[in-house]
Amino acid sequence: MEKTAKVSRPFMDDLKHTAFLWRRSRLTMIGSVIIVIFLLIAAFAPLIAPYSPVEQNLSIKLQSPSWQHLFGTDQFGRDIFSRVITGSRTALWIIFLVSVISGSIGIIIGVTAGYFGGIVDEVLMRITDMFLAFPSLVLAMAFAAMLGPNLTNTIIAISIVSWTTYARLSRAEAIKVKSQPYIEAIRAAGGGNLRIMFLHVLPMCISPVLVQLTLRMGTIILTAASLGFLGLGVQPPTPEWGAMVSDGRNFLIDQWWISTFPGIFIAFVVLGFNLLGDGIRDMLDPRLRR
């Protein structure tokens, strides 16, 4: 309502407001709980998993779920529960690195394009458009196939196809910010382009990109799983959910559990990230943030 002086830090203030809105949205809470569980599982995977995720024991292959093997065993006699739990680490690692890499590429390209405008903007944005012209999964497959299938290359391939969103977002933000009087004031004080761009414009683009990153984390898992499923992603024996679903394809009729459990985990974590992402987007909606 009125703009009187508030005595608090913007960060704490933001946090308090966010907590206030968070408590009002049940779906966001469910999303957050799923993600927290996911993070805990990944953190304590070696403690939770009862067996080694990679050790083969053909004498117990293709066993149905039981108390001994909660999710059953696969065609090599590996405990699926242990593999699914350990697979969460792979997924988390991919999410983390892809977010950092694609976020940084996107923000630097976007801010440069938005801040300078003109020909720089034109060139950088047309490059971005080229990446956007292909369906991202197809492009990721192409890159993964070209680079060779392994964990590092999966991460690179997904990063290459996903920075575009952040570039466009930070470009828009940079265009908005660069014409603000507080930036003009620095120019009036004699600040140069690089100083203004990196010290004053870029920091303003970070939070919208962070929000978008959370929104897209579900997609990252899905892309990684798809690559894994197609054999273009993480290679065996490293447990990866997509590859595990793919492993169970041939046994789907009689040994449903091999594909089903990793599939359920993919579904839940993606759902968790999507609910959380939607919630965060709503929380940052200026109409609610008054």
Partner: protein
């Protein structure tokens, strides 16, 4: 209870907004009244609640805000007790409103003529097409060329023209009361003068009352018969315009008038020390006491009620021997 105003009488109005910072008591016992055909100026600074008051009278307070207490008697009806359906018959028909940003109050994708027609169609319950002759009359009345404006979209009009359209729309249903919320604040002075002149002329012709919400003392002096001064969600002083400018009683009103610059004034402007209070945690007693140059002990504890100290001059201040206090209900 006897009504102070024949057309509109607002008493004890309280509105709060629920935010993460706590409850903002935007209005805390607002008093306001008007007679038919009168022009009342509601003045005050940012956050005093003048706009919220107008929205509350129209019952347009939305989440997270809530009208918590008070009475709004308009034209013999108690508005806060009406059903939403009946309120809809009052809103835009017996009482209408224009806003500060005329362009954002018009629908950008509909032609201007259609939008005014819609307002008339609603009150007369007739098809929009049939209202067009009346719409053209209305446009002429607000000084626009119907041939040009009927089929224009809002973005084709300037700020001043859009405000004329808004006024036409507001008055098309011959309401008894037009609430104008800072109608000229976004406009240039020469256009402001045109719009005030138009409001004045139309009010004379159509006999409607005008509640003009503004922060500009100059606009009040030029346009209004009566003035209500608001501060931090309270009504603090009410008088006729001449009386108020000549003999302001409340220290806040006095301070405000001394702070207003005007052509021909080169002496030091006097500011009111301090800042507007935070309405999450307003000062105890009189809301103005921390900034008041004439504060007394009683002001810090009790909140003075708005009482008549001279014929037609009401003030909420203990300097004038007001006994009693406003009941604070938790």
């Amino acid at each position: 209870m006897e009504l102070r105003g024949k057309l509109l009488d607002v008493s004890g109005l309280k509105v709060s907004f629920y935010t993460y910072r706590g409850v903002i008591k935007a209005l805390d016992g607002v008093e306001l009244w008007m007679d038919s055909g009168e022009r009342l100026g509601v003045v005050g600074e940012t956050g005093c609640g003048k706009s919220v008051t107008s929205l509350a009278v129209m019952r347009l307070i939305e989440q997270p805000g809530e009208i918590q207490a008070g009475k709004v008697i308009f034209n013999g009806k108690s508005l806060l007790e009406l059903s939403e359906e009946n309120m809809n018959r009052v809103r835009g028909i017996e009482m209408s409103m224009i806003f500060q940003e005329p362009r954002s109050s018009l629908n950008p994708v509909m032609k201007v003529g259609y939008q005014i027609g819609e307002a008339i169609a609603k009150s007369k319950k007739m098809p929009i097409k049939k209202t067009y002759p009346e719409v053209r009359e209305m446009l002429k009345l607000v000084g626009l060329d119907p041939d040009r404006v009927m089929n224009s979209y809002p973005h084709e009009l300037s700020g001043g023209m859009s405000q004329r359209v808004m006024i036409g729309m507001g008055l098309a249903t011959h309401p008894k009361l037009l609430i104008a919320d800072e109608p000229t604040s976004a406009l240039d002075v020469t256009i402001q003068a045109q719009i005030l002149e138009l409001l004045d002329e139309l009010a004379r012709k159509m006999g409607n009352a005008v509640m003009l919400i503004t922060h500009d003392m100059g606009v009040v002096a030029e346009f209004c018969d009566k003035v209500m001064v608001m501060y931090a969600g309270n009504s603090v002083e009410y008088a006729s315009t001449v009386e108020l400018f000549e003999r302001p009683l409340h220290p806040y009103t006095g301070g405000l008038l001394l702070a207003v610059p005007r052509v021909g004034r080169t002496d030091e402007l006097k500011a009111i020390k301090g800042t507007v209070p935070d309405l999450v945690d307003p000062p105890s007693g009189c809301r103005f006491h921390p900034r008041c140059p004439r504060v007394m002990e009683i002001c810090k504890e009790n909140r003075p009620p708005l009482v008549q100290v001279e014929p037609g001059h009401f003030v909420a201040c203990y300097l004038y021997g007001n006994e009693g206090e406003v009941k604070e209900n938790a």
